[in-house]
């Protein structure tokens, strides 16, 4: 290019923009020929633009080596009109200055999934700590991730796998750390408190649980063989059985029951609820002009047996999950129960350990109580509760005796599981826990 800061005209005379924004001109008449010697400012060519017809004077004195166009051609601004002797003729039309095409990064269609909301301050901290905000549940307004949410997440060990929560399985919040001895059972001072944390998650979950038609079964059985069997195992294997609690037996028995009756280790999604609401129709009866059945429900029979165990913490119930409970040895289960329970109480439990449950056990008896009506945790279809083992009157060999007995309270989703199945399931569990040898030999 020529102009200030350059060294004067070169050997190529290119078509300039002579009219403030013109981009081309027609070559009307050449006033010189190839080989001519021309003076500076000597008219070279007559051109016609949108604005006017005008002559272009030579930028320098020299010999014309080549004319870039013939009369009648349209030349674009920047193309070489005249080549003076001195350099090789550049036949490359790419010498036309092309305004750079701005490549748009082809409008990536943003997925409709919502980005997590967080204030800039929270985002910065999350960025610095390497935490993916999308893996957190926000307890702030509109699901915004707050400083507290981030604080909690920041105590998770760095190598804990951050699994994106599936929309069906609620991820319980982790309470702040406290020594288990100071359990205050989640009491708050008088006054209005914002619903947040575990309380909020539980409230949401149980609100959804109401939609499940619960049926309950309950029974009570002789736990003396269970207790003596446990004691015997601990005597034989003090180290392996160091953490062996009755709960380990319960998990093993329930797991076996779920294996025996897979329909209980399942989930159901009827997809009929909203349709029913709008139609207001009875679902039964072949004559019923039912609502559009296009959204048919489904039943998921789960491959794995993952049993959640309810742990009471200061901030509420936390339910870590024992994965593949049916494949673990008794000692293994005992260790895993210990690990999960400790982690839950100390607020170090990972998201992965909270997910994927297919059935829940609530050992409410550890605090006391006999029979209860536990609530199923959606999307599971069953929950098995165990009361406290106490010496109570029971009939043994035809006579009333005082024996340690264990109450069991079961609830199942009647949409999926009928009473007969529930009772069979319950009987199966009782059978195994009444006779631990059978449990261990299954």
């Amino acid at each position: 290019m020529t102009g200030p800061g350059t060294q004067g005209p070169g050997d190529e005379f290119r078509l300039p923009d002579v009219g403030e924004g013109l981009d081309q001109a027609e070559i009307v008449e050449w006033l010189v020929a190839e080989g001519d010697t021309v003076d500076r400012d000597q008219p070279l060519v007559e051109i016609l633009t949108d604005k006017s017809q005008t002559q272009l004077p030579s930028p320098k004195a020299g010999v014309i080596k080549r004319l870039g166009f013939v009369e009648g051609d349209m030349a674009e601004v920047g193309q070489v009109l005249v080549q003076f002797q001195g350099v090789d003729f550049d036949a490359d039309p790419a010498s036309v200055p092309v305004t750079a095409q701005i490549q748009t990064t082809g409008g990536t269609e943003q997925a409709l999934e919502r980005r997590p909301k967080a204030s800039p301050a929270v985002r910065r901290r999350a960025l610095d700590a390497g935490i993916d905000l999308a893996s957190l549940n926000g307890t702030g307004p509109g699901g915004r991730i707050t400083v507290d949410d981030l604080d909690r997440a920041l105590t998770v060990p760095a190598d804990a796998p951050q699994v994106a929560a599936s929309t069906k399985i609620p991820v319980a919040q982790i309470p702040p750390p406290r020594p288990a001895a100071n359990l205050t059972l989640g009491q708050m001072a008088p006054g209005r408190h914002q619903l947040r944390g575990i309380r909020r998650v539980t409230a949401e979950s149980m609100t959804r649980a109401i939609a499940i038609p619960h049926i309950h079964g309950a029974d009570e059985f002789d736990a003396s063989a269970l207790l003596s069997g446990r004691k015997r195992i601990k005597d034989l294997h003090p180290e392996g059985a160091a953490r062996l609690t009755p709960l380990a037996f319960f998990v093993m028995a329930v797991a076996d029951g779920l294996r025996r009756y897979p329909m209980i280790n399942a989930s159901i999604d009827t997809a009929l609820d909203t349709a029913l609401d709008t139609a207001g129709l009875d679902t039964e009866g072949p004559d019923t002009e039912g609502p559009d059945q296009k959204a048919a429900g489904h039943i998921d029979v789960h491959e794995a047996v993952n049993i959640g165990i309810a742990v009471a913490t200061d901030a509420g119930l936390v339910v870590p999950v024992i994965r593949d409970a049916d494949r673990r040895s008794l000692f293994d289960l005992a260790e895993e129960i210990h690990r999960l329970t400790t982690a839950a109480r100390e607020r170090t439990i990972s998201t992965a350990d909270m997910q994927g449950g297919t059935c829940t056990i609530t050992n409410y008896g550890s605090l006391g109580g006999r029979f209860a009506t536990p609530m199923i945790r959606p999307p599971e279809a069953s929950i098995v509760g165990f009361g406290s083992i106490r010496v109570r009157p029971i009939v043994v060999d035809g006579a009333v005796a005082a024996r340690p007995t264990l109450p069991i309270s079961i609830a199942v989703d009647h949409r999926l599981i009928d009473g007969d199945l529930m009772t069979a399931f319950q009987e199966h569990i009782i059978g195994l826990l009444t006779d631990p040898v059978a449990l261990l030999a299954r």
Partner: protein, 353 residues
């Protein structure tokens, strides 16, 4: 053999700063030389635009005579000139850098706006008629400085005289008795708008009545007449008698600017008639008839003017431009924000190939 080159150089020199009391034959020769040179300078700058080396510019054609007359009647060491944009090629008397800087201006170099001290010329003004309040302010300021004994002369076109600034400024000049000479160059056209569409006033000089100041009409193609009118206005001004409005009547012989095609609206017979009244032609004819001019002299003048211009163009095109030059001179000192912007500018530059 007369030394035409030396003669030409003498005729192209600025002469004494003090304006002559009256015009001699040498002065007329000087004025013709100035006129021819200014047209050559103007044509060269025009050609540069056609070669893609200069931006839009306004040829002087038709104003040469009035520029020669005005500049001879003023004192470059005492008086100021505020141009519009067509005049700088004819003001070499006020300083050699006037032309050099005009070439830089045309080339698009930022230094084109800086006419160094002590030259008393403002750079071209694009915003029409805004220079008239500036001129009045300058004259007003000179009234406060006992050392300043000169006057201010400002040019504007017939079109510009329709701007509000013209009226506000001339009015205020009258109130101040400011030592200012306002020259309305009536060359018949404001781009394609003829004077008849510009005003119903009989002439531009009579607008002076609105300001309570004297108004004078003069033949802008007659450099001697222009000299006399300017000299008289200058006397009044420096004596404290206040401003004068001078209307210099001429004809625009070329396009408004390089971006204009006058053949679209100027009647052919009109322009032909105007060419016959070209100030260069009439003065040349007179001087030739009086034996005061020849082809030899003219060739020498043209050669010298051409060389002068070539030197200015070469120097101008070789003058470096700082890529970030627009950060300078916005304020006396860069603000912190601008410093950051400048850093970002260079960071961006480094990221390019």
């Amino acid at each position: 053999m007369p030394d035409r080159a030396a003669e030409a150089n003498a005729l192209l020199s600025p002469l004494d700063a003090s304006p002559p009391a009256s015009i001699t034959d040498q002065h007329r020769q000087w004025m013709l030389a100035q006129m021819i040179a200014s047209r050559i300078y103007s044509q060269r700058v025009f050609n540069l635009q056609r070669q893609g080396r200069a931006g839009t510019n306004a040829p002087v054609d038709g104003s040469e005579a009035l520029l020669a007359g005005v500049s001879l009647a003023l004192d470059p060491t005492k008086d100021w000139i505020l141009p519009q944009y067509r005049e700088l090629v004819g003001l070499e008397r006020f300083g050699p850098d006037v032309l050099d800087r005009y070439v830089l201006y045309a080339l698009g170099h930022p230094d084109g706006g800086h006419i160094p001290e002590p030259t008393r010329v403002f750079p071209p003004q694009i915003s029409l008629a805004t220079q008239v309040p500036h001129a009045v302010g300058l004259a007003w300021g000179m009234q406060h400085q006992p050392d300043e004994t000169g006057c201010v002369l400002v040019f504007l076109g017939d079109g510009s005289s329709s701007e509000g600034d013209f009226y506000e400024a001339c009015n205020f000049a009258g109130v101040l008795d400011a030592p200012v000479i306002v020259v309305v160059v009536n060359n018949g056209w404001a781009i394609s708008t003829p004077v008849a569409s510009q005003t119903r006033a009989k002439n531009f000089a009579e607008k002076s009545h609105a300001f309570g100041i004297p108004g004078v009409t003069v033949d802008g193609t007659d450099s001697v007449a222009v000299f006399e009118a300017t000299a008289e206005a200058r006397s009044r001004a420096v004596a404290g008698a206040g401003p004068t409005l001078i209307e210099a009547v001429t004809y625009r012989l070329g396009p408004h600017t390089t971006a204009d095609d006058p053949t679209r609206y100027v009647p052919a017979d009109e322009i032909e008639a105007a060419r016959e009244r070209d100030g260069i032609v009439t003065l040349r004819d007179q001087l030739v008839a009086e034996g005061l001019w020849s082809d030899d002299i003219e060739i020498a003048i043209s050669t010298a003017a051409d060389a002068r211009m070539e030197a200015a163009v070469q120097a101008g095109e070789a003058r470096p431009v700082d890529p970030d030059g627009f950060f300078d001179h916005v304020y006396a000192e860069l603000t912190p924000r601008m410093q950051r912007q400048r850093q970002a500018f260079w960071a961006d530059r480094e990221g390019r190939s």
